[in-house]
Amino acid sequence: MLYTIVKQNSYQDSVNLMLLTNKISTMEGINKVQIMMGTPANKDILKAADLYTEELEGAASNDMCIVVDTDSDEKIQEVLEEVDNYLSNQAISGSKETFETVRSWDKATTALPDANLAIISTPGQYAAEEAEKAIDRDMHVLIFSDNVSIEDERRIKEKAHEKGLLVMGPDCGTAVVSGVPLAFANVMKTGKIGVIGASGTGIQEVTTEIDRLGAGVSHAIGTGGRDLNDKIGAITMLDGIKALAQHSQTEVITLISKPPAKEVRDEVVNLLQSLSKPVVAIFLGEEPHNHEGNVYYANTLEETAAIAVDLVKGNTIKPNYNTLQGEVPAVELKPEQKTIKGLYSGGTLGYEAATLISRGINYDNTGEHEEGYLLNANGFEVIDLGDDIYTQGKPHPMIDPETRVQYFQKAAQDESTAIILFDVVLGYGSHEDMAGALIPGIEKIQKEAQANGKNIYFLATVCGTDQDPQGIDEQKAKLEKAGVILRDSNNQAVLTALAMLDIQIEEVQKEVVAAKETATAEITVSEAIEKLLTEKPSVVNVGLKKFTEAITANGGRVVQYDWRPVAGGNPRMRKILSVLR
């Protein structure tokens, strides 16, 4: 039946009352409800809705009329309470964002007129075009997107170089500029070591290790994986090295790369030898036996960081930093358990593990690999689960634990498996609690193994710092509680795993030999690059919104560009827009 409540002289705006009506109508036991001011026109609406009652006759324009159709008169009190509650709590709470969101380049530059860096994370096919728009607006660019053609990469980098701008990427997963972490990056102490690298997780491992050893990083510049390809000629690497060489707060330069083409390598090394600052370089996969003049060569990412830290602290450089540290855990294994399965989310960490394990088992791992494998020899496997073939339609394993847990199980089913080796990469962009997400899978496998009367050992390294949003100590504590053996670096984790299987790697002792004479190079750095390295960046973030968080939290300014393809990607419209300029 119909109940009518007239609240006299209780004016509310009609929009409010419509929203309120919607809310009340969702309450249980209410067949129909309408709340309106008692104007003649509204009374007509109530009549049309078969909600008119005699009590409404006397209601005036400033009276709030509540008509409820319900089978239970007990509901009326409930409705009235809900009405009062709604009317007294009308403030709409929305989370305040500290940055503006725009939908075009023009608005982005209006919102942040001194923007000097763009982060591009659009689909790859559009990344080159957007990067060029940023360069046209005198911005440095970090291209997070992959699938940019090498021709486009060369064109963009040449154009930027001409204008005195830096292009990090494409496929640049991480960078730290003036203390501001960009894309997937760790938070670390600011210091005197300048890092430049062609590998995302390589940079993350070296910089977090530097942080752990008590030193700090001035900048970490990512070049993108193909920068040292002969088709690109290390355009970004060379400009970046020069910038770090001229940056007064940077005392030591650290370079991380896969082995480049010969001519490119010569050009880079020549530049390094001509600098007045010491340099630590790692060409992943090579096995250097000497340091040359000013340039110290490292065998592992851990050693790279350690040499850099000793250099910056003024300590004498030791011939070797790769000694196994810590006790080797005692193991109880069945005779058939002889292999290590490395299941990595960080490509370079996996690559390093594959290199070290190959050395340990005397396997020449230089040939072609099956897709997705970094090593697959005699039951020893290292897989980069961040490889394209594992991320088709699935999130990256730094974000999503599912693929990794699946491969953990697969590894555990292999009778030869003794140790499962993995990484947990922290920092902005990564999963907020990867340890917690992986543990249920790990515990299940351990339980099943024990039920079958055997042990499977989990061994991991956590790549991160105590300033990262996830907190490295918490992540470690969780993993240790679940029985995971932890080591501070990837190198130590791999060495420990090998030692648990009684495999040792011969340590290389390096001494400093003189480099061939190189003239001190004339180093010029553009004003724009100099500014990038001396001030907190002002960023236009084109694409993935989550990248804004690290920037605002670390003192950078950012405007979010909610990017969509121009004209929805319609080719004719794109053509028309280009002619109607």
Partner: protein, 427 residues
């Protein structure tokens, strides 16, 4: 290529300069046929781009029936329907005769229309008077009550306002009213209560000075006091008068009209003159009175989107905190986002209408069809929602988007006209 202009941007600037320099005055209220000569036969004006009877929505057809009865062309609804179905009555879009009409936009010769003169361009634009809410012609009602009200408009309201405006002498300055009302929370489509109040305040002293019968004076003032949306129609005629002056510059990509007929949404751009670019209309989304829901909503209708073309209405959502919640259930943040989004497709801010809740930035100025296509951001239109059956009337209010395809067709045609691209060959 662009006449006296070197670039499209320059042409667009000239168009929006005309919008800013517009000087609209409400000068009179007169029978439509006295200013629109086409209405001296069996002719009805309708909202939106050209449309045939069979494609009209039920409410628009209902409005036609109401107008036919009001004009005395038929003695009952059945007869009126027959005449309309048989094509005995000609239809012309309001926009083709310097007029605009809300919802159905149905306008006949003896209906009084507001006359707004743009003294910058010397042209005039016309719009019928707002009927209030409930059973009204613009939503397709044609009951006796509706016809009687139209009679009173013709015999009392129109002549009284006309006389009052003659007493005033040089017309009411609408820019002043808009500038004041936008600081009082109006956006001139969904919310016009401040503008209506200002109009009432301005006009009453003159009404009192007329020789109109006291009872009629009382009724007129009461009607104006009761009709919160009265100013909407003044804002529409004003927007039309100003946009018509601006579109005399026949170059560039500024949108000079947006309107809907329940079947198609139509736009014009400066560079393509009188040509309409149409696409199927959307149906508004919003909040509904009890007993009604989204399924009963009539597809988008009305020339009132001329207010958005002018840069107010949905484009100025942030000006009207009171109606922002139609955007969704959001609050001020959503309103700011909406207006900021709209600035992505506009060229500048209109310094005449500074909005306090937007850090005193001016309202949106000059929708650039290129920017709409580039960003995919469709202009947002605040609107009443009609029931899809004639005569039920308004069942809610909300927002609707201007379809992207109109803007794509417009810039495509312009690029072809300029010889910058070959016409697309349809397979």
């Amino acid at each position: 290529m662009y006449g006296q202009f070197k670039t499209i941007d320059e042409a667009n600037r000239a168009v929006i300069d005309k919008v800013v320099s517009g000087a609209p005055f409400l000068v009179d209220v007169v029978p439509a046929k006295s200013v629109i000569k086409e209405l001296n036969g069996k002719v009805l004006l309708h909202a939106g781009p050209p449309i045939k009877w069979e494609n009209m929505t039920s409410p628009m057809q209902g409005s036609c029936v109401g107008a036919t009865l009001f004009e005395g062309w038929a003695s009952n609804a059945d007869e009126a329907f027959k005449m309309l179905e048989n094509g005995e009555i000609e239809f012309i879009p309001c926009h083709h005769v310097n007029a605009v009409g809300p919802m159905g936009g149905i306008t006949s010769g003896n209906m009084p229309v507001l006359v707004v003169e743009n003294r910058d361009g010397g042209n005039q634009a016309y719009c019928t008077l707002n009927e209030g809410i409930g059973a009204v012609l613009r939503f397709g009602a044609y009951s006796e009550e509706v016809i009687n009200r139209l009679g009173w408009f013709r015999d009392v309201l129109g002549p009284t306002l006309s006389k009052a405006l003659q007493v005033k002498g040089d017309g009411l300055n609408v820019n002043v009213a808009i500038a004041k009302a936008i600081t009082m929370g109006d956006e001139f489509h969904q919310r016009n209560i401040a503008g209506s109040l200002i109009f009432l305040k301005d006009i009453v002293p003159y009404i009192l000075q007329t020789d109109v019968d006291d009872k009629d004076k009382q009724d007129v003032i009461q009607f104006l006091a009761d009709t919160d949306q009265f100013f909407l129609n003044i804002a529409m005629a004003t927007s039309k008068a100003i946009m018509d002056t601006a579109r005399e510059i026949q170059h560039g990509t500024v949108v000079t009209a947006m309107c809907r007929n329940g079947h198609e949404f139509g736009i014009r751009i400066a560079g393509m003159g009188d040509q309409w670019f149409t696409a199927p209309v959307n149906t508004p989304q919003g909040l509904f009175f009890t007993g009604y829901d989204q399924d009963m909503a009539c597809p988008d209708m009305g020339d009132s989107a001329i207010t958005e073309t002018f840069g107010v209405g949905g484009m100025a959502m942030i000006a009207a905190p009171g109606v922002t919640r139609f955007v969704g259930a959001g609050g001020m943040d959503d309103a700011v986002t909406t207006s900021n989004d709209m600035m992505e497709i506009c060229i500048d801010h209109n310094p005449n209408y500074s909005i306090p809740t937007w850090d005193f930035k001016g309202s949106c100025l000059g929708i650039d069809a290129r920017k709409v296509v580039e960003t995919g951001i469709e202009p947002v239109i605040n609107t009443g929602i009609a029931h899809k059956e004639a005569g039920v009337g308004q069942i809610g209010a909300g927002t609707v988007r201007a379809p992207l395809a109109c803007f794509e067709k417009a810039i495509d045609a312009y690029a072809v006209k300029l010889g910058l691209i070959e016409p697309e060959v349809n397979e």
